[in-house]
Symmetry: C2
Subunit: 391 residues, 2 copies
Amino acid sequence: MRKVAILGVGHTPFSFLAEKTAVELLSEAAMEAVAHSNLKAVDIQAMFVGNVLGDFSEGQGMIQSYVADEIGAKNIPASRFEGACASGTMAIRDAFMWVASGFYDIVLAGGVDTVSKMGTSLATRTFAMFSDGHYEYPSGLTFPGAFGMLAHLYSAKYKVPLQKLKHQMALVSVQSHKYGQYNRLGQIHKAITIEDVLSSAMVTSPLQLYDCCPFSDGAAAIVLASEEIASKLMEKPVYIIGVGQASSGRFSSQKEYLPRLRAREISAKQAYDMAGIKPENIDLCELHDCFSIASIIAVESLGFAEFGHGGQLWETGEADRGGRIPINMSGGLKSKGHPIGATGASQVCDIVKQMRGLVEQERQVEDVRIGLTDTLGGDGIICNLVLQKGW
Amino acid sequence: MRKVAILGVGHTPFSFLAEKTAVELLSEAAMEAVAHSNLKAVDIQAMFVGNVLGDFSEGQGMIQSYVADEIGAKNIPASRFEGACASGTMAIRDAFMWVASGFYDIVLAGGVDTVSKMGTSLATRTFAMFSDGHYEYPSGLTFPGAFGMLAHLYSAKYKVPLQKLKHQMALVSVQSHKYGQYNRLGQIHKAITIEDVLSSAMVTSPLQLYDCCPFSDGAAAIVLASEEIASKLMEKPVYIIGVGQASSGRFSSQKEYLPRLRAREISAKQAYDMAGIKPENIDLCELHDCFSIASIIAVESLGFAEFGHGGQLWETGEADRGGRIPINMSGGLKSKGHPIGATGASQVCDIVKQMRGLVEQERQVEDVRIGLTDTLGGDGIICNLVLQKGW
């Protein structure tokens, strides 16, 4: 297998009610990624796109073909991937393989969704399609419901009093907004306090409004290339050194295991083993904070904290800039936004920019050599990880 | 790149208003494919699934994870592909690469849709999402509209009088039903006459009801493995010797080129070049006859007939069993049915069974050594080809 590099990255602003269509947004991100790779669109040999709700939000399926044509990468093979919120990283992992195998030299991967165009109530209904639609969703298990349940299970299993857990969860959101306010491509630019979180509207116990990420529109894309091509085009290619993907059955099938999520733990092991590294080697992590409790669960599965102690990373500042393992310096899904098909690609983009010293000064982490992208699909049913290495 | 074999295949009945869910249907096909491969579900390392309308027909996305869990292939990476009607072959082509690259040894690929559950009017609306949803569909360009237009363009460009073309198109449908009536897994079991076609209801000029495939529910799956594994498990593995995939922009972007479809012609060249064969080497072809005119256009793009002369294959019997290039001995989309995400996988399954002498005697072709699967997504925007070689 060949080494696979990330060349340019592209990222539209994330927003509520974007004026552009999904085809336009992804085309914009794709062209930025191509231009920053010192390439032209005709150099792209194939395209891999995560898009989850295009059919619902705009009545437009098969978006990848229209984007390929729109940017001038005429007639290339273009595939769409759906793994709920993990779709963007699913597309990237697949693109990685087509280059690693030697079949293609230069490909584009990314994702897009225009979720907010559906309106909040339809968005919640369509999101629920990525839980079990036959048994669990009809019983009331929306995503806020599932993650609220995880918080209660977490509190009970690890004997973390709910009040303490809620304080930790609030710290997660506060940190996301602290850095997200500086991300010019993010959706929300507003610092918040613990009191803001704890006094926000109750969504589903114990999750309050500021424990939940917003509905968002946006796109992100990256160009992947073989090492040989990359070394000719750019001084600082970033390499993908590990990928992981795993699945689970319906939420209730993990009842003995929850609040831990098997798919993430298996994906993490795959990615670490492929890269030959350990969690302590990671300098920066973008993880899937669809809800604040999800961050606490994630850092444990990813190996950054003992089970039951994830929240301490935010209490001690270990998850902060300058800490042991900075988390979500982009603002995360909570503040940057969560256009679901785009999210994984957005995370990878931000880590590449961090490695190149190209993000806003207020959220730039020094010397990021190894970065981890973590995306969760549905109520933990799919997980995709990407490990990146700079210089 | 390693050689990639197809081991077992699985195929549910195709039907109108299936009683089973998409998860149940694909699980059934997958288990059949696994059992016929002399494997167990735990041997499957990854899953690649084409599913287009699961979100609309059943409110169930991310079906691949639930199927993996359902059959006992716990926690494996499972990806969903969407390329409209080409989704099943898109999944197979991707699965092929993961095995060819050496990353996996044994994977499952397939597809499923339960289209008819939506009812005909909603199905037509959702199908239209796979044309350009912003400009072309709102102007009335549904799929019957697009293919009706292709028929008129064909007639004008090649100076085939419409009456003669309609007769050729009727012959296509008559042949599909002639063999489809014997396919026990097919949806329609009824021989029809030219008069039946020409007296059926007008859908959109010049397409009449019997020029159009039905709405269908069903699933199909195949197991792919490395040559080393295959040779241990089975006496007659079938090898994938070529794949092709290409895209186009919106229908109108090809206006200078129509009724020819660029994506198919490019895909065909890719697959033939990879396999090192020519159209005259093909013993059997399953092609994408969503409408009868589509078959005539297809045989020209695939190299079986000169442009403007495709219909003659049915007039002369060259497309018939015992002819130069037997077409759609399964009954094709027209008679076997078209559960869109399943269709490409179904075609591949049927060719494998033909190679092994396992189809109903009335439609069995002798000595099928090389077979071609052709699937078209949307109004020709995506095309996926798979070339298979037996013994």
